[in-house]
Point group: C4
Chain length 283, copies 4
């Protein structure tokens, strides 16, 4: 590949932010990942009263540093993309904005209770990690196996729900309000807690008949836990079999994004964007 | 297919109610589904005291609307079928009747306690959803995999039961009444709670020896949870393999039901019912 | 097969008791099964104080009827077998004796506390059900799949145990006695309760660090629950594949037992016992 | 194989300690295993107050015997190996030292509280069992199946963690501090307890909305428990298929270790160490 001598700063910045083929692009991704993780840890620590009262100032400064960092990145993304509206209205654009503004809003409405919910908005940054998931080829097989068995798992979960409603109602009538089965929704909740083998124990049957029915529900749950596992397992066994690869499949995709329309997964030897026809930057 | 110009209202109604090939038939099914779900939500909400005391009148009116709707449907089904006795005595016929009458009975015996149980009868409508399950082809494989491994799962559950009785008796003798293991049935109940990894914690071993045996039971449960999963998984892996299809298998079944005997799964080109020989309606 | 006209009562009784090919033999097995199940139910009900104080006499009479029934069967088995010593010292012989004598002993030491343990001995009759399991061909595949993966499951459970000891000790040091982790064995017990996803909740980590470690243990447990399932599933998938059957395999085994040495699984056309050479009864 | 008549005691001791081909070597391994297990039991019993106060002297003597035994073994290992520094700095060398010294240190600082942690160090001996795991060929397949699916399981657990953080934050906002969801880390902890179907029940949702979300989390957990199982199961199914063996694979490895550099897995007919070229002892 030929490296052009002159390139404007926009194109270079675009390459760093949107692609991971160059050392600068990789470094950018790693810094971003660390910032996201630090941000999540900060939001969590702030919610712990004892820590927040002790280190409030340090947490606040840390959060401001990360907020400014994300603000700079957000502006840089808008500036370097040729169609900023498309980015701003995209899923990641909305996430980026929503997770950055809470800190600015907190100055305006300092001390108000709604800030707790606002603080949690910052956790949305976690979705940006998925953006970096382009390195994880391992998950492709997994996702397609889950997608293939989606319909079957849905049918199965629907059956579990119907069973829970029926058994929940029976338990409501057998155990009654005095044993914690206050109403049908609560009984259905207990039934799902039992069927999924979670078993909190906050509600537990007290009458012999209730315990007998509970036994039946548990053994049923034990029997049907096999079903979703069997589905995914079978699907995955078929998927992970080595497939014969034809010559046409041997195409290398790289991580660069079109500087105009942000579409990804270009072929390594592509000169123009397959989507909008814009000239691609070649590193 | 030739669409006949003149058809009496009975035949047309039959097609709407019992079949899903026409737009009217599909709309009927969707309305029915919504009515069933609304009915279930109503029964559940009625059982919650705080909601029932606040919105009692609204819930009551809603329930009357749905009850009248189901009553009309029930009568329509009887009228359009040629052999009404067969429908009335069928599983769905009984379900339809049982889930519709409670509201009428509630006028007669207003205020009595038995109404709680009557109210729950309305939840039987949930089974009618299964009737609409004809759209879900995805579940066919699932059901046949479960059917094929039925005998093995039964043997397995029987073994779990025997194990529970033996370990339950041992725990009853080790822990005794003072630690919650009041009698053998309760100990067996605890043992199943533990083996199925539900673990409510309402009863838990207190003595060191009891905890040692509990450890053994749990590790055993962990080991044998693999068995039903392995069975279904293996069965399903074999089932979901693409089978060679012979010419004879390529028969399309449609959703229409015989107007005389209600038998289903007719071949697309069938002119007469395979069961009673009655002429089929062709849309 | 030719039915001989004259056969002594011993041979006929042997056929009824030990074989299931004749109608009388099948009836005998069914009566035995009902007696065993009734016996188990009786022992369980006796342990429930409220039931025992109310229906003590009825339970007592029922237990005597069953005890006499089993006594008669035990004697009949000894009389009809040619080598009684072999039967008496066999696993089922010991079970049969141990589960029959408690009632007789209870007359001698009436009122003593040791009777509770004696009563439980009667539950040993449950193992006799396994004897009747010869009808269940479905379990053969299951048992052989479990046997084949025995070594791997053992290695796995051993690894779980080592992990539990290490994490249990860490939790003991982190949480300490004031949070319920009184000593290392109890911490190991808690660790197994958590790893196997049973989660009683009688002991739960209270400190943030303890909860962090618990989180790690749970996710680990979630990850490794896959291992035994994977083993059995894979083993079972291979086992349940249809195997090509050679001519030599097509041998029919029947349920009759040798009247001399009690060895089972004789070929249908066998004239003499493959074990001791004694002449077999042909029905 | 030719047995040389004259061999110095060092070489003979090396063979006993590091190899398991001779009867003496096997006996050494068995004694070592018993000593390790006895040591673990001792440490556990010491932590139980009632046992420690009663049998303190016996436990102390037992621990001294085992400590001296391990000390002798440690010195013997250093003496017989040609490159002692390499052994001392190796994983097992450090484990051997760390698990042996606590008892000697306990004389110097008798009565201090830090001894509890020191005592636990002795449990590190458990890792030495893994050293003896060379007999367990059964685990090879297992380990390689786990290794192959490592990346996928990591991706999966990462997804579970992200889900837990999101749902944990939602539950923190819905349930609030008054229902036990004191802060976000604690809510995330609860979420993992629920997703993994452990369900301690020390924290449980109290509000209807919280219970609804909990129901959703549980059904999700039920659905995704299938994923790691499916991965390992599929991997294992492929792995356990009989592979065609080429002539080159038919090499027998023995358990002897090089007397100079301790490298293992020598071929049966090897005369010199494949690693350092030192002459191997042939039994």
């Amino acid at each position: 590949m030929i490296k052009p001598d002159k390139r404007n700063w926009k194109a270079r910045l675009h390459e760093i932010i949107y692609e991971a083929d160059t050392p600068a692009g990789k470094l950018f991704d790693i810094i971003l990942l660390i910032a996201i993780l630090a941000s999540i840890v900060l939001v969590m620590l702030e919610s712990v009263k004892t820590i927040d009262s002790k280190y409030h100032d340090i947490l606040n400064i840390g959060e401001w540093i990360i907020t400014i960092l994300f603000s700079v990145e957000y502006i840089a993304r808008i500036v370097t993309v040729k169609k900023p509206i498309k980015y701003i209205t995209s899923f990641y654009g909305v996430i980026d904005l929503l997770s950055t503004i809470p800190k600015y809003v907190s100055i305006l409405f300092a001390g108000s209770h709604a800030l707790v919910a606002l603080r949690a908005l910052r956790l949305l940054r976690i979705f940006r990690i998925l953006k970096l998931a382009r390195y994880l080829g391992a998950s492709n097989n997994l996702v397609s196996a889950l997608k293939a068995s989606r319909a079957k798992i849905f049918v199965f979960l629907f059956a579990v729900l119907i069973m829970s409603i029926i058994f929940g109602t029976i338990m409501y009538m057998v155990e009654g309000e005095e044993n914690g089965f206050t109403n049908i929704p609560k009984s259905v909740y207990w039934c799902i807690v039992t069927l999924t083998t979670v078993g909190f124990g906050d509600i537990a049957p007290q009458t012999p008949l209730g315990q007998l029915i509970a036994t039946f529900i548990m053994i049923l749950g034990y029997g049907i836990i096999a079903v979703p596992t069997g589905i995914v397992s079978a699907e995955y066994t078929h998927q992970s079999k080595p497939k014969p690869v034809s010559e046409n499949d041997l195409v290398n995709l790289n991580t660069q994004a079109c500087p105009s329309c942000s579409s990804e997964k270009h072929k390594d030897n592509a000169q123009f964007c397959y989507n909008c026809g814009h000239k691609l930057n070649h590193g």
